[in-house]
């Protein structure tokens, strides 16, 4: 128990340092700072893997059973996704947008109670890790898409209105940002789809019904339709650029609202308190 909390704090520290380095790199335009930030982030990610493993061993269940664990897992998936993207795109500026988001999730995690959720027979199914992993990986990919969308809107505004300063020089080309949007969509959408399907199958084995219209399920379905519309628009009528960026941002806001809102304000079987049987 102590071990995983300590590791969590180490991860938090690494993400904090990486965020500072990324931001400093963007502000001072030193590429080596960005590279250094990536190594710090990768180290933090490795520690994060150990954190999750320690938690898993300590509690004996997939570490996504409380809000603290879920936020930590979300941040883990986000950083992992970013590091994978970095292999292909090598845009340190993207790190300056994604890393702070991961940091915010982690800080949210520290605020949430860390006590272990009581064992729940419903969670004792191997559909549970499959469902949450797919869902959170989807979230993470969509988070990257949203950050790329923010960058796109910032850069598009500059190119369109001919404002050449600061960020104009630091942000990558519109095409690159748009292709990140597309790439994220092609990864994120299948992940989310499989997440929903695996959840339905799990629900059937646990409660004897595929779909119960609880707030989270409804929200997820709305978000799924949103991304489906974007993917369809991209592939058929040439939606791209600004519109795709705005869609990705709205989609992610809806996603976050569904994820947090359900837990904090609404009820249903997806709230963490329901896991503990309260």
């Amino acid at each position: 128990m102590i071990v995983d909390v300590l590791l969590f704090k180490a991860t938090l520290l690494a993400y904090f340092v990486a965020t500072l380095l990324y931001l400093a790199g963007v502000i001072s335009r030193r590429e080596n700072l960005g590279r250094f930030a990536k190594w710090v982030l990768a180290t933090g990610f490795a520690v994060h893997c150990a954190t999750l493993a320690a938690r898993w061993l300590a509690t004996g269940q997939t570490p996504v059973a409380s809000l603290y664990e879920a936020l930590s897992f979300f941040a883990w998936a986000l950083v992992g996704t970013y590091l994978l993207f970095d292999l292909r795109y090598r845009i340190a500026v993207l790190g300056a947008f994604v890393c702070p988001l991961a940091l915010v999730l982690m800080i949210g995690g520290t605020a949430a109670p860390k006590k272990v959720a009581a064992a729940n027979p419903v969670l004792d199914s191997w559909w549970f890790p499959v469902h949450v992993s797919l869902a959170f990986l989807g979230y993470a990919v969509f988070a990257v898409a949203a950050m790329a969308g923010v960058m796109y809107l910032l850069q598009e505004r500059r190119v369109k209105n001919k404002q050449f300063s600061g960020l104009f020089y630091r942000l990558p080309s519109l095409d690159t940002l748009d292709s990140i949007n597309y790439r994220c969509l092609t990864f994120g959408f299948p992940l989310m789809t499989m997440g929903i399907i695996s959840g339905a199958i799990w629900a059937n084995t646990a409660w004897g019904g595929y779909w119960r219209w609880d707030p989270k399920e409804t929200g997820a379905l709305v978000v799924w339709f949103l991304y489906a519309a974007l993917l369809h628009g991209r592939l058929t009528v040439g939606w791209r650029g600004r519109r795709a960026a705005i869609f990705a941002i709205i989609g992610f806001i809806c996603l976050l609202t569904t994820f947090l809102g359900v837990n904090l304000f609404l009820g249903g079987q997806h709230t963490f308190s329901s896991f503990t049987g309260q």
């Binding site: 050449f164 020089y169 990558p172 292709s179 791209r240 650029g241 600004r242």
Partner: protein, 439 residues
């Protein structure tokens, strides 16, 4: 040893003076040898470009060397010194070192960050090496300047943004498109400016070039230059959807491309982004086109704005470059002064120790009855005296080696103890961090 520079540049002299005092790049042997033959000049280097003429020298007497170099620069070209003197500048020591570092890093150039100057200095240094007028000091000095320039180039964005209108167009395209090699360009109206920009695009990877012009022959001629295709002016709108970048410079009195046409083109392209460069005055493209999503329209003034912004950006980066140069100067200066101080300290110590050894040998010869223990005692005492006496002067030499008074102390110590002047070549060179390739 000191480094001095005498010269003139676009900052101090108009082109008439610069061309009068320039050295022909094909005949550097004569002036280099004449310069080396001047009194007080130990090593010589001449940098002569269209924007500057500079004589660099290593010398023991900097003031004399500067006077001689000024006179040489005028007389070699048959000019009166009084006439050109107002355009000349001279620097010595640290200021001269900073000067070359700044010049090599293109901070002193007419367009900050332009890349040619480094190559020109490398060529100049090549001549000095070829004709053996550069020695230990200038060798190290120039290699250091090259590595400083390299550092400035890689660690700052001083040369990263375009400062010409035609190149600014390419740079903007790179902010819109990820890559240019799969993009197409259409040139409407075969103007000079379009041609130049098109050349930049082609050299940056664009392979597909379409050209259209009211007179079809001119379009064909220009298209042939870029391995492109000429399309008839009456039907050029049919081909707009094929290209990503459009440059127009026709003499048409009204817009040749309007909002509605572009809307249609975009629909056909499935909204793939387009970059329009309207160089014509009066303009060829309706400015309202810029309101369309995924279309970016720039006119001449906009491009000029990019250039201005880039120049400002370069100024900012130049500021950082000055910081890098500052760091490197102190490092080089330390090496230069070490060149004098270290051998002086070694020679001083050797003089003391040799004297002590001689006197001890004499004493031991006269007193053969001394026991081993007593001899050891005398030896120890003598060494202690030598070390105690040396301690303060050595500390002073080391402490003052970075100050101007350091040279005086070195000279005084040499004179007082009649130390031999060290052959510069024998001084061990401490490795600096310049792994620059030789030009």
């Amino acid at each position: 040893m000191h480094i001095v520079v005498v010269g003139l540049s676009h900052h101090t002299a108009p082109v008439e003076v610069r061309e009068r005092l320039a050295f022909a790049p094909t005949a550097m042997e004569k002036p280099l040898h004449q310069m080396l033959a001047l009194p007080a000049v130990a090593e010589a280097l001449i940098v002569s470009t269209c924007n500057r003429v500079e004589l660099y020298a290593a010398t023991k007497e900097p003031e004399t060397a500067i006077v001689n170099l000024r006179r040489f620069l005028a007389s070699y070209h048959g000019a009166e010194l009084e006439e050109v003197a107002p355009h000349l500048y001279d620097h010595l020591g640290e200021v001269a070192i900073r000067h070359l570092f700044r010049v090599a890093s293109s901070l002193d150039s007419m367009i900050i960050g332009e890349p040619q100057i480094l190559g020109q200095i490398k060529t100049a240094y090549g001549y000095a090496v070829e004709f053996k007028t550069a020695g230990l000091i200038l060798n190290r000095f120039l290699h250091k300047a090259f590595s400083v320039a390299k550092r400035v180039r890689t660690e700052t964005g001083i040369a990263s943004s375009a400062v010409s209108v035609s190149f600014a167009a390419v740079e903007l395209a790179r902010k819109i498109f990820d890559r240019l090699d799969d993009k197409g360009v259409m040139i409407i109206g075969a103007g000079e400016m379009c041609e130049l920009a098109a050349r930049h695009f082609v050299s940056n990877g664009v392979t597909k070039v379409l050209v259209t012009n009211r007179t079809f022959e001119r379009a064909e001629k220009l298209a042939a230059e870029f391995n492109g295709r000429a399309v008839p002016f009456e039907r050029f709108t049919d081909h707009l959807a094929e290209v990503d970048i459009i440059m127009t410079s026709t003499g048409a009195p009204t817009f040749i491309l309007d909002h509605k046409q572009m809307e249609e083109v975009l629909r056909r392209r499935k909204n793939r982004p387009m970059f329009l460069i309207d160089i014509a005055v009066p303009r060829d493209v309706d400015p309202k086109v810029n309101d369309l999503d995924n279309v970016y329209l720039y006119d001449v003034d906009d491009l000029q704005g990019v250039v201005q912004a880039n120049l400002k950006e370069r100024q900012k980066e130049a500021h950082r470059a000055e910081g890098i140069i500052g760091e490197e100067i102190s490092q080089f200066h330390l090496w230069l002064s070490n060149l004098e101080v270290k051998p002086t300290i070694v020679a001083l110590r050797r003089r003391f120790e040799e004297t002590a050894a001689q006197e001890m040998a004499k004493t031991f010869g006269n007193h053969r009855d001394l026991s081993d223990a007593q001899r050891k005692g005398i030896e120890a005492m003598t060494n202690a005296i030598v070390n105690k006496l040396l301690h303060r002067p050595v500390a002073l030499l080391k402490r003052t080696q970075n100050e101007t008074s350091g040279e005086d102390y070195v000279d005084a110590v040499r004179a007082l103890f009649d130390l031999p002047a060290p052959a510069a070549d024998e001084t061990p060179i401490e490795p600096l961090d310049d792994q620059n390739e030789k030009p």
